[in-house]
Amino acid sequence: MLDVTNDVVLSLRNVEVAFPLRKGFFAKPGLLRAVNDVSLDVRRGEFISIVGESGCGKSTLVKTLLGLQPATAGTISINGKDLGDYSRKELAHQVQPIFQDPYSSLNPRKSVAANIALPLILSEGLKPSQVRDRVLEIMEMVSLPTRLEHTYPSQMSGGQRQRVAIARALITRPKILICDEPTSALDVSVQAQILNLLRDLSRRLNLTSVFISHDLSVVRHLTQRVAVMYLGRVVELGESEHIFRTPRHPYTQLLIRSILPPDPEHRLPPVAWDGGGPDPTNPPSGCHFNTRCPYATDICRIERPPMVEAEGVRVACHAWSDPEAWRAANGEIPQLS
């Protein structure tokens, strides 16, 4: 592994989350591997992103990290201790979530202060009067005027609600913040405010942040490392600048080509319709991406590519396992056109 072990806050080893499926009454139960053999180390104070299309397993991974969905195989450890060994109360002081939609993630019948205080009241058994100071302090930290203490979420704008959600996540002083598309329900001008706030807070509090997103411009702006997921597997992992400048995996290249920059000189690339992602209940054999990959050869359809080190990033693609042999056999190596 690349990382220094004592600095690793969150460590995933061959994590699998599978759901049983039954297609018909008499059919043999199938298995949907939403997260499939994911290994990842997250260092203290790091801002790491997980990107991928819908159905790639990023939200399932979030649920697993929060202890809401047990992993069916592999180990997850937080600060060197297995996730399963934490009680719910202890876990609340380690990991906290910020969800996508601040309209449904806040309790509409509780005031702002009550919403923010709840994790602390539940995990430490305190009375609301005992936590008021900390609520006000945290509201100040996320730039929510303290006069909003007794208002209700329905009286607030989307950006303010997301600030409430961030305050609620920070009140237990967690070590790890999990942000599941925290700005995709917000308008661009508000999105910028929230992104600045998240970056500022994670630096100030030395938080480790796992950021789930499908917006690659946001990811590039915000994070130091990126993990690209496709159909439950991590296909590329590395420093964000490396990956964005020279993406190795054909899927990462496809994602980067799909970005629409706010630049009228940019033309839509002429790409054939490839039918979109395959059925996750019946993924293609070999490399999962082979059905959409312009470079796929026979080996891609048979053998699963191992995760290899290629010029500073880790990538799971046969072309990069042995670039010389690939070039000799197939002529071209996947690159961003």
Partner: protein, 346 residues
Amino acid sequence: MAQDKDFCGDPILSVRNLEVVLKTAVGELQATRGISFDICPGETFAIVGESGCGKSISSMALMGLLPRIAKARAEHCVFDGHEILNMSRRQLSGIRGNTLSMIFQDPMTSLNPVYTIGDQLTEVFLRHGKGNAKEARDRAVFLLERVGIKNASERLNAYPHQLSGGLRQRVVIAMAMMCSPKLIIADEPTTALDVTVQMRTLALLSELQKEFGLAIILITHDLGVVASLSDRVAVMYAGQIVETAPTRQLFADPMHPYTQGLIQCIPSYAPPNADAELHTIPGMVPALIGRQKGCAFRNRCALADGDCAKGDEILMREFGAGHGYRCLRSEDALCENWRSLQGEPA
């Protein structure tokens, strides 16, 4: 209006001073005011703005789909030679889906889950008396193939839930094309889709437009979509068009402080400067209850002064051909502001 009156000879849709008012429990809400634009045949006109700026409700007004609490008035609203705002339901349904059709945001809710896509595609065609069942079927197969759906004649028997999100949106696009419309209003057509699918769907729309000479009104909040697809743009804020320009012109020389802020607060896909904060527009969109005065953006604007609160509305001023903006500041001050936002020395 200082707007593109002579931009194209014969607009397919001409809207002058469209105003939509909603009656709410707390008073009249002015959802839009003074919306004016012309759409030329074959062009893509983007309407961009944040949620609540009135972009969707203006298009709903054009389609006659406003909720009961809403009332629309306009000087005129002429589509293809007909005044459409005060049409009877009967007359309207002769136009909707026929020469004027619409693509909505979420393909799952705009398709009926209990009918096959074949039924839904042919229904439009038959309803408008374009031909018999056989011709309807042929047209449906042709269009499904055209939008890139393989085995089109078999897919006609599929139900919407059997298709992926991207395919469903393709079916919706095919359905909008069934009667060879002159204008399609696309309301956030790709917001619910994945990025890779979004790019392909937009590329498809632009191909179809060239092939069939369609005009498209593209409603979106995403400036990336605007930049890659549209010919002209109108930026809306709090119910008004605050700036309108040819797309290239708008991105090169945005004049209104709101447009400038909006362009600047997108995380650019460029190597980031580790300590660079994103530009933000302080504050939030004002409530639109009651009669609106002056510039709606004045409370969030760095250049605002007392004059911005005066008068009924700020008039559109011209800056080059087809480029208008509603702001009282001088051109020099606005250009200066844009340069300083971009971090360039004056």
